[in-house]
């Protein structure tokens, strides 16, 4: 007998996301899973659980609901203060996002608000966001700093993430995004030097990833190569914001340096897409940011042709995507871009996990994986994006424990 301290019973369909003969989602009808100490220890047909599992703990009756792995959000900016609702409204009247990245507006405005916020207030904001992630089915996020852009505020942002991790069952994978933009009141070269010589070494122990925005309002290709090259030498894994607003070298740099992910990619060329696929990089696409900036769709067909895995992320941030909902991002990827429901589901689970180095542990359900799953009021896992703008998550389980909103 397998010992377990938690079980989910009677999943109408249980999508393991482990491909089996003829079914890329690895669905089990009337499925069940058992967990012990936060990991899945058994998965199969409900009728076989009692004979194989010695359960000493709670069981959650899915009562026929679909069960899938907890969603994985591979691109989020959850540590910030302040609002940019007025900039959202200005874009509806025709203002361009890129033109908003100057003066007292755009990212630097959020930087000012985040610098001024006291740590407790910043943590309270981040915790409310964590609760919305969980409520909407996400159990793992990549979480960027990048609204500090000086040593003390980036440190404060990492503190927020560390305290948040202790207060929420949401899994948080921290990314250092000191190279978000050049902050005001510091010379460009001086900031790049501070980044490379002070901040990158200082935050190595606190971040898994280093990220940089390689684009006109932010860093040049040569700055990006220098920053991310240094980060790699220090032992960071890499992500990159690339080719979101215009064509650029970001995707090549991701491929050259073996980045885990290249994000946005609206303007990636077919050759860049092939280079990313060859390098084993994951494309992390951000449909909600694309939607509110009214950008062109990314080259989905070229990505499919190249076999480049496409993750779907919320890109939660105050400028372009004030949303913690991956099901919403999946609906947008389908309706606005023509991705299939299956692609969108793989994008918010398996491919997102791969971009975080969590393949086999998150975004799938198998013995050994995290016991993170969600119960959904949908007829099949592929029906998730059919429900637009409403939350169909019934329950969120993280680490073998049913999450209850605080």
């Amino acid at each position: 007998m397998i010992h377990a301290d938690f079980a989910v019973r009677h999943a109408g369909q249980l999508a393991t996301m482990m491909p089996s003969a003829g079914d890329p989602l690895g669905c089990i009808r009337d499925g069940a899973l058992a967990a012990h100490e936060g990991r899945v220890v058994w998965i199969g047909h409900d009728g076989e659980l009692d004979a194989q599992v010695d359960l000493d703990g709670d069981q959650l009756d899915a009562a026929g609901a679909c069960v899938i792995p907890g969603l994985v959000d591979a691109h989020t900016h959850p540590v910030f203060a302040g609002s940019r609702a007025d900039e959202f409204a200005e874009r509806l009247g025709g203002a361009e996002y890129q033109a908003q990245q100057s003066g007292e507006r755009g990212i630097v405005r959020t930087v000012q608000a985040t610098r001024q916020a006291d740590p407790a207030a910043l943590l309270a904001l981040a915790e409310a966001r964590a609760n919305r992630f969980l409520a909407n089915g996400t159990t793992t996020i990549e979480a960027k700093t990048g609204y500090g852009l000086d040593l003390p505020t980036e440190a404060k942002s990492f503190d927020v993430l560390r305290h948040l991790s202790a207060r929420t069952p949401l899994r948080i994978i921290p990314t250092f995004l000191g190279a978000h933009v050049v902050p005001p009141t510091i010379d460009r070269a001086a900031y790049v030097r501070a980044l490379m010589e002070e901040m990158l070494p200082a935050f190595k122990a606190q971040a898994v990833f280093c990220d940089a925005w390689c684009e006109k309002p932010a860093f040049t290709p040569s700055e990006t190569r220098a920053i991310l090259g240094r980060a790699k030498t220090l032992g960071y894994q890499l992500r990159i914001h690339a080719a979101q607003l215009a064509p650029g070298e970001g995707p090549e740099i991701a491929a050259e340096l073996g980045a885990r992910s290249a994000d946005h990619l609206e303007f990636a060329t077919p050759a860049q897409v092939k280079a990313l696929a060859f390098a084993g990089t994951v494309a992390v696409l951000c449909p909600a940011a694309n939607f509110t900036t009214r950008g062109p769709r990314p080259p989905i067909e070229a990505m499919r042709d190249a076999g480049l895995p496409m993750a779907i992320a919320s890109d939660l941030n105050p400028g372009t995507s004030n949303s913690e909902s991956l099901p919403h991002a999946m609906s947008l990827a389908c309706v606005a871009w023509g991705m299939t429901p299956r692609e969108s589901l793989l994008g918010a689970t398996v491919h997102a996990a791969r971009s975080l180095g969590l393949e086999g542990f998150a975004g799938c359900l198998q013995p050994g994986s995290f016991a993170d799953c969600i119960l959904l009021d949908v007829e099949t896992p592929e029906a998730i994006p059919y429900y637009v703008g409403v939350n169909r998550v019934l329950q969120t389980v993280a680490g073998g424990v049913v999450w209850r909103p605080s």
Copy 2:
């Protein structure tokens, strides 16, 4: 002193939606409202409430959150069984909605499922939808039948709405939509005759409105004129599905017959828009349905120029908009169509209420209006659409009672 049995205190901003000098939203800072027996009896600055109101009952502390009237959804189809998730997926691959309205698919497929569903199951589905409306901030819906399309199933649908009204604080304004499409296995002329001679008289006591879809897959202009003309004679108020998929006479018919609303209107001409404005009809726009069918945007500028009031509705239905969220529809109206946040908010409150004949009672807060309001985690009422795909409603109050999900 004014006697009250319920109050909301400390609204950071309380949008009454009653225009006052310089402020079309009639916002009160640190606002409060008091209610008695389900109606607002007092509204003003929180600091003045204690001196003016004798409160014997619960008070809800908004703690600085925004408070606005409960949202009003002027176009919903909440009584149906079955799923059309596969048709949603087919459209992503290029299938057109109009081409799906034949054979065993489209609306007639939902009609079959609804005819087969037993009343208790249909009520349970409708009640889950009512809970999602309330959770997402809607306190009043127009609710259409129209998935029965025979006397017994239309009657069953009205029964569901009547039982639903008794079980939920959601206000439900029933609309008879026997003229949704011509159902299968009955001759077109015979169906129109049955509609006019049997169904319209039979349901007069149960419906406030009669609606008809005047468009190629449904009813011709002459059929629509006959059906709605007869309905008007019988005392129904009128709504019409018009010019959604192609140009057509629907908007003229709405103006001619003095319909309360003309809905969809993607293909309305400038002359039709003017005629609707002159007739006092409200345009009820359905951005989520427009989004998933990838239709053109409605002629917003012409509507603005003509002074035609624009309501924003969810169009909840299993074919094109499986969504009970008006905030989501507001985001789409802004981002996809370029409406302003203020227009979208007026659309989901004041104009929607007007289209239902509830102006002054719903969609606004003043002495005498329904005590329906929502508390929102947003910085200003106009920031609602800035939050995309997530629910920022903190509390829903309907009839002076705080709603709790069952």
